[in-house]
């Protein structure tokens, strides 16, 4: 059992949990993830480690399915049955280079820890955070502190620049030589944004988030196609060379259980409502 010490809503449908899990917190490095199982009947879901301090780890997630809604209900003092990790390989950290870290939407959660790690290794770090609108922007201040320079952008222009993170990234790599780029966000955002660095051949990392079960390399549920080869995101990743990732395959595999996920979510909402049938939750 692992105690929740902090639980906050950061934006619409975006929540933060800080959990006491010493084995994870003390070993976590930038780019790694953990797996939680809320209760005995719960599924195992992977969440990127957003921060690790002392015995505490922070995760930030968007409510999408039954499990994330269940996680969002947790309050300080509540417990999570299982927290396993840290899992996956840490980010590959260069030295004395110029790096850009791009976060999109809830993917921004993974960025400050990477930015800080890069800076500690002597890199110049430029941050770009993008969200659909101002209300969905998260961790802006933390990113500002973690980067040498931060660009903020929203799709509707309600905060920072009007436009997409990809547009800003394009300008940044035109303005100065950039050695390494990280792009973290929804699959489609990673696909579009990482395409920007391809012409210049800039080493670009994306953090993939396929469906997982064990997260330790045992099942192959998370297999992704990278450079034409099958890789397991849980142990070979989650970070891969963006220019070699088959994003269309990733997005297709993320949809395998859409129907089941809808059923589970409806059931979750119905269980919280107290009505007889839950039919109005459809």
């Amino acid at each position: 059992m692992y105690s929740v010490v902090k639980a906050e809503q950061l934006a619409d449908r975006v929540h933060e949990l800080v959990v006491e899990a010493p084995h994870v917190a003390r070993h976590a490095k930038a780019g790694q993830f953990l797996i939680v199982r809320v209760d005995a009947d719960g599924e195992r879901i992977p969440l990127t480690i957003s921060r690790a301090e002392g015995d505490l780890v922070r995760v930030i997630f968007m409510t999408i399915g039954a499990t994330t809604y269940r996680l969002a209900e947790l309050r300080p003092g509540d417990t999570i049955l299982d927290v396993a990790g840290p899992l996956g390989r840490p980010s590959e950290v260069p030295r004395n280079a110029t790096c850009v870290v791009v976060g999109g939407g809830v993917g921004i959660a993974s960025c400050p820890i990477i930015a800080r790690t890069l800076r500690e290794a002597g890199n110049r770090v430029i941050g770009i955070v993008g969200a659909r609108n101002a209300d969905l922007m998260i961790l802006e201040d933390e990113m500002r502190q973690s980067c040498d320079e931060l660009h903020v952008t929203t799709d509707d222009g309600s905060l920072g620049r009007h436009g997409y993170a990809a547009d800003v990234l394009k300008e940044v790599i035109e303005a100065e030589p950039v050695d390494h780029v990280w792009v973290i966000g929804p699959a489609i955002m990673m696909k579009v944004t990482s395409a920007v660095t391809r012409p210049k051949g800039i080493r670009t990392w994306v953090s993939l988030n396929p469906i997982m079960v064990d997260g330790t390399g045992m099942c192959g549920s998370c297999r992704v196609v990278v450079n034409g080869e099958t890789r397991f995101a849980c142990v070979d990743g989650p970070e891969f060379d963006a220019h070699q990732v088959d994003f269309d395959r990733l997005m297709q595999r993320q949809r395998i259980y859409l129907e089941e996920e809808r059923d589970a979510l409806e059931r979750h909402h119905a269980s919280r409502c107290g009505c007889e049938t839950g039919v109005h939750h459809g």
Partner: protein, 471 residues
């Protein structure tokens, strides 16, 4: 057919007794155990057939050296408690072994009666002794504490056995498990209808009752660094062969293709059969193709049948060559699994979801080094099996995660850790056993390896000169 839904059984004093099974038409609708076990009378009748050989071959056939004649005699005489106590001397997981050991090639295969009327049904008797009156069982005694700390990595059959043997010898054992529950393949791999999870938990509780400290959710190498691991006085690596192989044919990435490990883990460990009551879904499939012919393939096929699918099992050699236990093949067939032999999948069809599997017929050529005919593709013989789900059960290899972090450990061709006959690796104070050392094998061989390694660890710790120690 008797009206109680069971199949007829052999009876009569001389012919002894075999376990009754639930009828296939009934059991295919649930995950209840297939074999019903022996009643006390049946067990005594069967045990009575034992000739109590002066030089019992059966013991030599047992990888953990259970004193088989003595526990069989105890059953014959109605001393059921004594029977279990006798088994526990050598094996703390008898309810598991009684169910999943391939006795026909081990103790029962060595039984003097095997070539005459019928081998003593040692597996059924072991299971009987393990199951009867387990609630009142006295705890197993341990030697005085040695104050030496041993880490056991992985809580499958090898790890559990080593942990138990080490704790019995007075060492402080920490048992690490990366999943949320201990048991390894006993839990995530072998389905409920062959090995009920309640049985696994009971036997694991017996091991933990020896004072073994269990730490779940710990992926050693990540949740615990190798340096922290090596701070123990000794380490036993039993991380198993959990890395699933894929066939490397076109279409494997489309939706609806599972490794057997994933399919079985979703159902056995995460209880996807009860989704959405539980959180983990699985594609039940209406037409499932399972590729492979081992016990895991049979398990996957039988689970898929229980989830309601029509199941075809595609195997590239002949039915006689199936590596699975005969009994598992028979059970699968009884439960309606269709066997497509001398055939190999070459392509998975459909985009974005599976619609079928293209196979080719294979002809059998000269025997290869395994003593089985080498299959060769028959040109122009391709055919398609309609399917919406494909489960690949073509094998697993040793888990590479910890192995690649163990600097100085020699590894074999399969990525396995190379060990000596006592389980010593090439790193001082680090031992290994089970599938991580042998590649995928059986529960009981892993237990035997765990037992041998525990004896070596104990001896090395007491002698203070662990083998390979360069100091």
């Amino acid at each position: 057919m008797p009206s109680n839904g069971t199949t007829p059984r052999a009876a009569g004093a001389r012919r002894g007794c075999t376990m009754a099974e639930r009828a296939s038409t009934v059991r295919v609708h649930d995950f209840g155990e297939v074999d019903l076990g022996l009643s006390p009378d049946e067990a005594r009748t069967e045990a009575d057939r034992c000739l109590q050989c002066k030089k019992p071959a059966c013991i030599r056939g047992c990888p953990v050296g259970v004193d088989i004649p003595s526990f069989v005699l105890a059953i014959a005489e109605g001393r059921f408690e004594d029977a279990r106590t006798s088994i526990l001397e050598a094996n703390l997981l008898p309810a598991i072994c009684g169910r999943v050991c391939p006795q026909e090639t081990q103790c029962e295969g060595a039984c003097i009666l095997a070539g005459k009327e019928r081998a003593i049904n040692i597996g059924a008797l072991e299971r009987f002794a393990a199951d009867v009156g387990v609630e009142g069982e006295a705890p197993v005694a341990c030697s005085p504490s040695t104050a030496r700390r041993v880490a056991v990595v992985g809580s499958g059959p090898a790890g559990l056995t080593a942990a138990a043997e080490l704790a019995r010898r007075g060492h402080a054992v920490t048992l690490y498990e990366s999943l949320h529950e201990p048991g390894g393949v006993l839990l995530y791999g072998i389905p409920e209808f062959r090995l009920p999870k309640a049985v696994v938990r009971e036997e694991i509780d017996r091991v933990l009752a020896l004072g073994v400290e269990l730490r779940t959710n710990m992926l050693v190498g990540q949740s615990l660094s190798v340096e922290e691991l090596l701070a123990y006085d000794a380490v036993f690596v039993a991380t198993g062969a959990g890395l699933p192989s894929f066939m490397d044919i076109p279409g494997e990435e489309v939706n609806g293709v599972y490794s057997a490990n994933e399919f079985l883990t979703r159902v056995n460990l995460m209880h996807a059969d009860r989704f959405p009551g539980t959180g983990t879904p699985v594609k039940r499939g209406s037409r499932v193709v399972v590729t492979g012919g081992g016990n895991v393939a049979m398990d996957a096929a039988r689970v898929a049948r229980r989830l309601g699918a029509r199941v075809s099992l595609v195997y590239r050699r002949r039915e006689d060559d199936l590596p699975a236990r005969r009994e598992e093949v028979r059970h699968a067939r009884e439960e309606g699994v269709e066997f497509v032999t001398c055939a190999a999948p070459v392509r998975i069809l459909g985009e974005p979801c599976v619609t079928g599997v293209e196979c080719v017929q294979m002809e059998m050529c000269a025997l290869d080094e395994s003593g089985r005919p080498a299959p060769r593709e028959l040109e122009g013989s391709s055919f398609v099996i309609d399917a919406d789900t494909v489960i690949q059960a073509i094998g697993t290899s040793p888990n590479p995660l910890l192995v690649r972090l163990l600097t100085g450990a020699r590894t074999g061709r399969k990525g396995n850790l190379v060990v000596d006959e006592c389980g010593r690796t090439t790193i001082p104070r680090v031992y290994a056993g089970g599938d991580i050392a042998t590649g995928a094998a059986t529960v009981i061989l892993a237990m035997g390896a765990g037992k041998r390694a525990a004896a070596a660890i104990d001896a090395d710790l007491r002698n203070g000169t662990p083998a390979g120690n360069v100091e």
